[in-house]
């Protein structure tokens, strides 16, 4: 196994993360205090906030009655664009604490809405989708830069913040009930987005794929989908942010999987690795027809497995050449986010492969920052050197040496580690 040659654990970084983790509570409380001071300075007597909004948030509790909010960095407008979740966060190397700081810097001014009310041809609702609250929200979602807005608030914000235990969602910051909102400018909307918005005869999946092919990243697409701006007229709905993220990863991934369906296989086994925010990713590519599995190992003491005496928690989900027929019960949004990163790489190479991704969540991962972290870590796992192995068994053994579980346990949990799917052509003209 020639894995070790290119692997060096960056011990200083790990120590630094531990320190951050210990200080997490104070850090976030500081962010909230400074938000409160800014908020008091910025909000006028009639509780109107003039700010810019880089994005929206649609909550999912109590669906179909969702809370839908305009996010605005009250008093820190110059940094608005950087507060919007995107792949750039990885390139900047934001830390877990940075993510919390950014999220808690955005005021979520929200109102409750029935998702069906945002439909064009749905039940007549109190809100018209093209002006008023939903109209402003839609404009913010489809614009490609932060939009000037004025938001009327109903009372003062609740300066709490929320850290969900769910992997997909990013932490959310202060919330306030909103009365109304208006645009302070005519937002800039890219042409392809206008096209998908205006065509109300276009199924959402097709429109998402179109935007992706026109160079929009999944972050922009899920915001647009979330605002109910994609799909056939009568099907358009507000989509909770969390669901829209997974829907876009799945849809774009399915498109990419189709694009490599008949592509030649890679020639040799490759082992790629990346580590980000306390999560290590091992990506093993094996020659053959597309097959994919994500195995997650969650260390005791990490966010989803908080008991330090508990063993490593394992979860896995997989698909064969034709994709999955059932819902992903384990690994959830991370499954589709990691799959997207892998498929983008294979699509770019014009190759297919069998792909085993192992995600090791260490106890350094003290707060879930959102599934973008999985997507970006896997996307960036292919840069630079990679390890090789003669056989898949050798590769899996090599990876297991760096994981806190035995090969036997991995084989029990992982479909691919237990055995790779052969096809009948492999046996044509062979005799035992």
């Amino acid at each position: 196994m020639r894995l070790d040659e290119y692997l060096e654990f960056e011990t200083n970084e790990r120590a630094e993360r531990r320190r951050l983790a210990r200080e997490k509570d104070y850090g976030i409380l500081d962010h909230l205090d400074s938000f409160e001071r800014r908020f008091e300075a910025e909000v006028s007597d009639d509780a109107v906030v003039g700010s810019v909004s880089p994005s929206i948030f649609v909550g999912r509790s109590d669906y179909p009655n969702v809370s839908t909010g305009l996010l605005s960095p009250v008093g820190r407008e110059e940094r608005a664009a950087s507060f919007r979740t995107s792949g750039a966060w990885y390139d900047e190397g934001v830390s877990i604490a940075d993510v919390f700081e950014r999220r808690t810097s955005l005021l979520n001014a929200n109102r409750g809405v029935d998702v069906n009310d945002a439909g064009i041809g749905g039940e007549p609702g109190v809100h018209d989708a093209w002006d008023g609250w939903l109209g402003v929200q839609r404009e913010v979602a489809i614009a490609d830069r932060p939009v000037d807005v004025e938001i009327g608030l109903d009372g003062t914000p609740d300066l709490d913040f929320e850290v969900g235990v769910e992997d997909v969602k990013t932490p959310t910051g202060p919330r306030a009930a909103a009365r109304d909102a208006s645009l302070g400018e005519n937002p800039h909307v890219p042409r392809p987005v206008k096209k998908t918005l205006e065509d109300d005869d276009w199924r959402a999946e097709g429109a998402m794929t179109y935007l992706y092919r026109r160079g929009f990243d999944v972050y922009a697409i899920n915001t647009i989908l979330s605002a109910g701006a994609l799909g056939r007229g009568e099907d358009r709905r507000l989509v909770p942010t969390r669901w829209s993220i997974t829907a876009v990863d799945d849809t774009v991934g399915t498109y990419l999987r189709g694009s490599i369906r008949d592509a030649p296989s890679i020639d040799r086994i490759e082992v790629h690795r990346n580590e980000y925010l306390g999560n290590a990713f091992w990506v093993v590519l094996v020659p053959g027809n597309w097959e994919y599995e994500l195995v997650e190992l969650k260390a005791p003491g990490s966010i989803w497995n908080p008991d330090p005496d508990a063993g490593v928690y394992l979860a896995a989900a997989s698909e064969g050449r034709e994709g999955r027929t059932g819902y992903v019960e384990e690994t959830a949004g991370a499954y589709y986010a990691a799959r997207l990163g892998v498929l983008e790489h294979l699509h770019e190479r014009g190759r297919q492969a069998k792909v085993l991704v192992c995600r090791h969540v260490s106890d350094d991962y003290w707060g879930p920052v959102g599934v973008w972290q999985v997507r970006e870590a896997v996307r960036n796992a292919f840069a630079g050197e990679h390890g090789t192995a003669e056989t898949f068994g050798e590769a899996v053994r090599g990876v297991t040496e760096h994981l806190p579980i035995s090969l036997g346990r991995l084989r029990r949990k992982s479909t691919m580690a237990a055995g790779l799917q052969a096809n009948l052509a492999d046996f044509a003209g062979r005799d035992e």
Binding site: G320, R412, G419, L420, Q421, A422, L424, E432
Partner: protein, 247 residues
């Protein structure tokens, strides 16, 4: 030319065995038998079905090939009660299949057979072990394995002369050990292969509980499952590629 009358249950059993693997297939309407051979899009599972002319109440065919959407045809066959007879007649002009059962008539548009994936060649495998087991026993093993894992190991213990169905899950294990006396027949040989339960479950679904299933098995080789239906005049062979363990 194709014109036949068949019992609804025989037709349903035949269609079920194919539809677990593919959505569309070619049906060969030969003089002595109707036959279907199809492989799933991933080329992992294959089915080879023959329904002899004698399985029909009446059967006339002259070697044509038609392409059908299996789900549609199954739906129509499902409209008949199992004791009912189904009349099938091909209209060569319109390329439609007329189906009639108990006063209900249905005209099924056919698919151009050339647009359907090619029928596979059957790999010629000489598998060392052969086990004949009741469909119900196989069903027990598959169902139990599915509770703990998504793959299943089929193997023969040559010295103990037993057939073993095993599954290992994250925490739990399942073992079904069938000795010679639990089986209809056993030819022991070196056989140990791992299979995806996704596929085997689907195949198992189509196998009647009272069928005698012949299982041919090797070392990390495809498994062949044969069984009969329709009073022994229908024959199905499944072939499933293994999952290969790598050392």
């Amino acid at each position: 030319m194709f014109k036949a009358i068949v019992s609804a249950s025989t037709l349903q059993d035949a269609l079920d065995s194919v539809s677990v693997l593919v959505d569309e297939c070619k049906i060969r309407l030969n003089e002595e038998a109707l036959s279907i051979r199809a492989v799933d899009p991933a080329n992992v599972g294959m089915v080879d079905l023959t329904l002899e002319a004698a399985a029909f109440e009446s059967y006339e065919a002259d070697g044509g090939v038609i392409g059908v959407n299996l789900a549609r045809l199954e739906d129509i066959a499902g409209m008949a009660n199992s004791g009912d007879l189904i009349h099938l007649e091909l209209d060569e002009e319109t390329r439609k299949l007329h189906i009639e059962t108990d006063g209900l008539s249905y005209t099924l548009a056919l698919i151009d057979p050339d647009s359907i994936r090619q029928e596979p060649d059957i790999p010629d495998l000489d598998l060392p072990a052969e086990i004949v087991v009741e469909g119900a026993q196989l069903d027990r093993g598959v169902k139990a394995a599915d509770m703990v894992s998504d793959h299943i190991r089929l193997r023969v213990d040559e010295t103990a002369e037993t057939f073993l169905i095993e599954a290992e899950g994250d925490t739990d294990d399942v073992d079904l050990e069938l000795a010679r006396e639990d089986l209809i027949a056993l030819t022991a040989g070196s056989a140990d292969s791992l299979f995806s339960l996704d596929y085997l479950k689907d195949m198992n679904k189509a196998i009647p509980g009272d069928a005698e299933v012949t299982v041919e098995l090797g070392e990390e080789f495809p498994v062949k499952l044969h069984y009969g239906f329709g009073e022994g005049l229908g024959h199905v062979t499944y072939m499933l590629a293994p999952r290969i363990q790598s050392d």
